[in-house]
């Protein structure tokens, strides 16, 4: 994997995140305590905590369920740390990963600029020229 296929990894995380969001929505539907916002700030904080926990658990479950597809993109043996890390990342939500993806695509464009700059000099303000060969004699 190179930087160039980092967008593929992030696209996978978006897919996992969308699935995790669906899992959270389904589970929330079964429990009104989770589904309805509370007016009491203390109870609302508690509800949000459980939703975050549910998102992480959902992320891990989705990653495990999708492992045959995930391993095509992510190298490694898939021990628990890898699954937990991906689950945690998936629980960030698809909106978050969409934003990251747009950043990464922008960075790819910048890297093309970096290459151009490297070919031109530190500031990259003007393209380098390739002068014709001269002789060392007056």
């Amino acid at each position: 994997m190179t930087f160039d296929n980092l967008p593929t990894l992030i696209t996978l995380l978006i897919a996992l995140s969308v699935a995790t969001e669906r899992v959270v929505e389904i589970v929330k539907g079964f429990f009104w305590q989770l589904n309805e916002a509370r007016e009491d700030p203390r109870l609302e904080a508690k509800r949000r905590f459980w939703l975050h926990l549910l998102a992480v658990g959902g992320g891990i479950a989705v990653t495990l369920a999708a492992w045959p597809a995930v391993r095509e993109v992510v190298p490694g043996t898939g021990d628990w740390t890898m699954v937990a890390a991906l689950g945690l990342l998936a629980s960030g939500g698809s909106g978050f990963w969409n934003t990251i993806l747009s950043y990464v695509l922008k960075i790819k464009d910048l890297r093309k600029e970096d290459l151009r700059a490297a070919q031109q000099g530190a500031s990259g303000r003007a393209p380098l020229r390739q002068p014709s060969e001269g002789t060392l004699a007056p």
């Binding site: 930087f3 490694g76 890390a85 000099g121 530190a122 500031s123 390739q130 002789t135």
Partner: protein
């Protein structure tokens, strides 16, 4: 007096902070100028002399303002070797190239004269068009020739050496109104008149020349270089896994691979490039015969062998520094991921390929990515490589650092401060990885352990090291004083020496 065209042109970039290619630090600068020849489309002697005068005017201004002045090449080094809070001159656009006639050359050699800003990539293209090739270069090609020289950049050409070993004359701009054409007295490169053509004072002195080769921009501004080159040759490259067993260790320690059954060796061409990549996580906790990736290149003076795949600038292999940065951040937070992600780094660095062939310019390719990777290269004698490698392998495993080890063999250099000076061949033992806290811990641990084991070692000046003035004296001994004496001879006043010093040379005790 040589005829002078218009002086060089200096364009103020307006940049107040400069970052090198690998983003290893950020340097506030007083001014960063792009430096251009008056006529960038034609290499003319008058234009070259005009640029020399422009550089001398810049030195005068730095003396007047009491500021440091550094020539900036490709910005490839990790430490602040080219950095200064004073004035930075981007020399990258200075890429004139000159043919040397046979009657201007001492001996039967192929020489070209090029300006300091020419990159290795440009040189490869220029030389290939003339049916010539560099004897060796680094693994990538973005460095300028003057930058690669000044840091002692090397490849893995164990019969050839590093970049300083094919530079045979240096045109050094040292002060207002003075520049010197420096060559070895024992092996003059060009006839006396050439120095006069470029308006320089001819100095033939082995000690000064060997000291100026690896001098980090501290001897003045290197404006031009005479390079000894070869007829265009081809490299037949093989990259595959092999076992680092006792037979291979014996060959490495003798720097003699004849008779060894290496991939690609059956065609009978001489081995030119020898490099190993060790992934400590794949090779396991126990020492013994290690499975390593070997990169072997055989030199063909003629065309590529039948059936070989053609090397191309646009092939699938590319480095992935940006991904290394991501790996570094992830493994700092989740150490348990290191094992898996180092496998990924392994794949980034080397892909299995067999029987690929091309001229050097197509084999050593463009590095297209930029990011916070880390690299540290240590030079050790061949007979101590095995111990050093084991120290590095264990340190990486115990620190759970996302890093790989590569080993390259380089013929010993004559340059006074070449880090590849261990005779007869220096083993360069390199730890590359993500720019993470764990990798930096490994660098410190390895330096301490190698020193404790009594292994003679040196460090690549352009890569990460943990040296200070005392340690540099300890490693290089009398060579340091020889280098300082040579600097005093070429830069006779304290003021001049201050102009060509920076915090890096201060830290290493090399400024005065």
């Amino acid at each position: 007096m040589p005829q002078t065209d218009s002086l060089a042109r200096f364009f103020d970039t307006g940049v107040s902070r400069w970052t090198p290619w690998h983003q290893s630090f950020e340097q506030p600068v007083h001014k960063l100028y792009d430096t251009w020849n008056a006529d960038p489309d034609r290499s003319t002697l008058g234009g070259y002399v005009g640029t020399t005068k422009g550089l001398q005017a810049m030195i005068q201004r730095s003396l007047d303002e009491e500021r440091s002045l550094r020539a900036l090449g490709g910005g490839w080094s990790w430490p602040p070797i080219a950095a200064t809070a004073g004035t930075l001159l981007n020399t990258r656009p200075l890429n004139y190239r000159f043919n040397l006639r046979v009657d201007q050359i001492h001996g039967d050699r192929k020489l070209v004269f090029v300006q300091c800003g020419m990159s290795i990539a440009e040189l490869n293209v220029y030389l290939a068009a003339k049916g010539l090739a560099l004897k060796t270069s680094g693994a990538s090609n973005g460095q300028t020739i003057a930058g690669a020289l000044s840091t002692g950049t090397h490849g893995a050409a164990y019969r050839v050496g590093a970049v300083p070993d094919y530079v045979v004359a240096i045109h050094l701009v040292t002060e207002p109104g003075r520049s010197v054409w420096l060559e070895r007295d024992s092996e003059p490169a060009v006839v006396d008149s050439v120095a006069g053509h470029v308006g320089a004072e001819l100095v033939r002195n082995d000690d000064l020349f060997e000291a100026a080769l690896v001098s980090f921009g501290s001897f003045g501004i290197i404006h031009g270089l005479v390079l000894e080159v070869d007829e265009l040759y081809h490299l037949n490259a093989w990259r595959t896994k092999i076992t680092l067993d006792q037979a291979l260790w014996d060959a490495i320690e003798a720097a003699d691979f004849d008779g060894l059954d290496l991939p690609g060796s059956d065609a009978g061409f001489p081995l030119h490039h020898f490099e190993l990549l060790v992934n400590p996580y794949e090779s396991g906790q126990a020492a013994g015969d290690l499975e390593v990736f070997a990169s072997l290149m055989y030199r063909h003076e003629g065309a590529c062998p039948d059936g070989a795949k053609r090397a191309s600038q646009h092939g699938r292999f590319a480095q992935g520094d940006g991904t290394l940065e991501l790996i570094g951040k992830l493994t700092d937070v989740f150490p348990g991921l290191t094992d898996d992600l180092s496998g990924l780094a392994d794949k980034l660095k080397f892909k299995d390929s067999r029987n690929v062939c091309g001229p050097p310019g197509d084999v050593f390719r463009d590095t297209t990515t930029r990011g916070k990777s880390a690299s540290s290269a240590m030079g050790v004698p061949l007979n101590r490589l095995r111990e050093a490698l084991e120290i590095g392998r264990v340190a990486i495993l115990e620190e759970k650092a996302p890093a790989l080890i590569s080993v390259r063999l380089v013929r010993a250099s004559r340059a006074t401060l070449a880090f590849t000076h261990h005779q007869p061949v220096t083993a360069v033992f390199e730890i590359d990885g993500a720019d993470s806290a764990r990798v930096h811990h490994v660098y410190r641990r390895v330096q301490d352990a190698v020193r404790s084991a009594g292994i003679p070692y040196t460090y690549h000046w352009g890569k990460i090291h943990k040296l200070n003035a005392d340690r540099v004296r300890e490693l290089y001994g009398n060579r340091i004083q020889d280098w300082i004496d040579a600097r005093h001879e070429l830069l006779p006043t304290r003021e001049l020496r201050r102009v060509f010093a920076n915090t890096y040379t201060d830290q290493l005790g090399l400024s005065d």
